[in-house]
């Protein structure tokens, strides 16, 4: 039996080594396919090969207003995220710490979370205008729910024995909250923040794309109407990279804070 598992381990190690390479190869193959198809088969009005997109990057950033639009979207995201956390954490704690409020308000929260918020977007823009306020609000409202729900879960699923042990050692209620419940909830909180971040980003992007009078939405409209796939895809690529970077950063933070978890 031991022999088998040792052999498996060696095979696995060889496999892993190749897997990373294979993945890279798959990505490169896809890019090549895109390059060839876009260059020789598709009307250049509709699709650009990756090479041309990369080459168009400088011109994209030189287009007046594009860097500003990107920067605006970025800080709108930042503000919306901070607001989502600032609201989501206390609300989650308030709901999670008492059984009565959990029973009463969790169903409402879950109901609101399941609602398609996109249908409110035009209303929000009507109310708050086409400036950053509507985008920040729409983004924050997407992020609040995952964060609250995760905080409630983190508070709720603490093993009762830990509370009993603290009580037996003389801990008072605020001590139990500060030293037992709060640290226990932190990994869930970070998981919720990761989901919340994705939600906020989606909300902000949706709002930006919807408002075609200015910002990202203006440029996507412009590049679409002028059949400029290179700059359009370039813009999309920049936003995609931003999304990936944020996700990686938050995943790192989540892993760091959840080190002690065994589950």
């Amino acid at each position: 039996m031991k022999e088998n598992s040792q052999r498996d381990a060696v095979v696995w190690r060889m496999l892993i080594g190749r897997v990373g390479v294979a993945r890279l190869a798959a990505v490169v193959a896809a890019l090549l396919f895109w390059e060839v198809a876009a260059r020789y088969r598709v009307d250049p009005q509709f699709l650009s090969p990756p090479s041309r997109i990369v080459l168009a990057m400088p011109s994209l950033f030189e287009t007046p207003g594009v860097p500003a639009a990107l920067w605006t979207a970025f800080w709108e995201f930042g503000v919306a995220f901070v607001i989502a956390v600032a609201i989501g954490l206390p609300v989650g704690l308030a709901i999670g710490l008492s059984r009565l409020s959990r029973q009463s308000f969790m169903p409402i929260v879950l109901l609101l979370y399941g609602m398609p918020q996109i249908v409110i977007l035009p209303l929000l823009v009507l109310w708050l205008g086409i400036g950053p306020l509507s985008k920040i609000t729409f983004g924050a409202s997407h992020g609040v729910f995952p964060i609250s729900i995760a905080v409630v879960a983190g508070v709720q699923n603490i093993q009762p024995i830990l509370m009993v042990a603290a009580q037996s050692m003389g801990a008072r209620r605020w001590q139990i909250f500060r030293w037992v419940i709060f640290p226990h909830m932190i990994p869930s909180f970070f998981a919720g923040m990761r989901l919340g971040m994705a939600g906020v980003l989606l909300g902000v992007l949706l709002a930006e794309l919807y408002v075609s009078a200015a910002g990202i939405g203006y440029f996507t409209l412009m590049f679409t109407q002028s059949f400029d796939p290179s700059r359009l895809l370039g813009l999309i690529a920049v936003l995609a990279v931003m999304a990936i970077a944020l996700n990686v950063a938050l995943r790192r933070a989540e892993l760091h804070f959840a080190r002690w978890r065994t589950d």
Binding site: Q159, I161, L162, V164, A165, A166, Q167, S168, M169, G170, A171, Q175, W179, V180, P183, H184, I186, R259, W260, R261, T262
Partner: protein, 273 residues
Amino acid sequence: MAKSDVAVRIRDVSHQFGEPGDARFVHALQRTSLDIRRGELICLIGPSGCGKSTLLNIIGGLLAPTTGTIEVDAKPVRGPLPHDIAFVFQENALFPWCTVKENVMLGMRFQGVSRTEQEKRARDALAAVGLNDFMAHHPAQLSGGMRQRAALARALSLQTDILLMDEPFGALDEQTRIVLGEDLSVLLARAAKTIVFVTHSLGEAVFLADRVAVFSARPGMVKASIDIDEPHPRKPGFVTTEKFSDLRNKLYGLLHDEIRKSVESAAVTELNA
């Protein structure tokens, strides 16, 4: 004021969970009385569900009994007494996000010990249980036996007169249990505490205890008690003596019927559910 001879006085304590007629009603303890002498190590043993853990929680002030009273050092028990009583639980009651040392110090913080004193006591307690090299580890990184040592260190650092241990080795494998049992005996010989130790294991009870109180099946009460006259610390060789076997057999005789009764009633509950 001289402390009385009786550390814990249990008088006519009974306990039930829920009301008769509830789906979840459990009559855990019948009227039980017991005097626990200062400095003795008494084991509570009995079949599953006989209420021994319930009684332990009641002694420790974590549960208010349906009837009866508990007195610790002649004071009635109305809630946790962190300065008099420390617990060691069976499940992992160590805080997973704290290191071993932080766990021990957090317990003292709850008790109200000063920061410098916390440091000193933590180091001493962890050294006493043999975990000097693991102070900065998290519980998840330790084996089950080491975790229970850490839990024991936490309880010892609180420097209470009374220690309540609820099947502390229940989740461990037999070999670890044996080693920990021997170490515990050595430790407790030095410490001079009153200890109430709940266990399922006959051998463990005979090895560790000065007195073994045998519980009947649910609803539980103390059916009989056996004195074990053997000096502390108990030597590992004690287990092989004839005296040990006699005592163990006597215990077995008292317990066997109760175990059968509890298994059968559990089966009936299963069928009726």
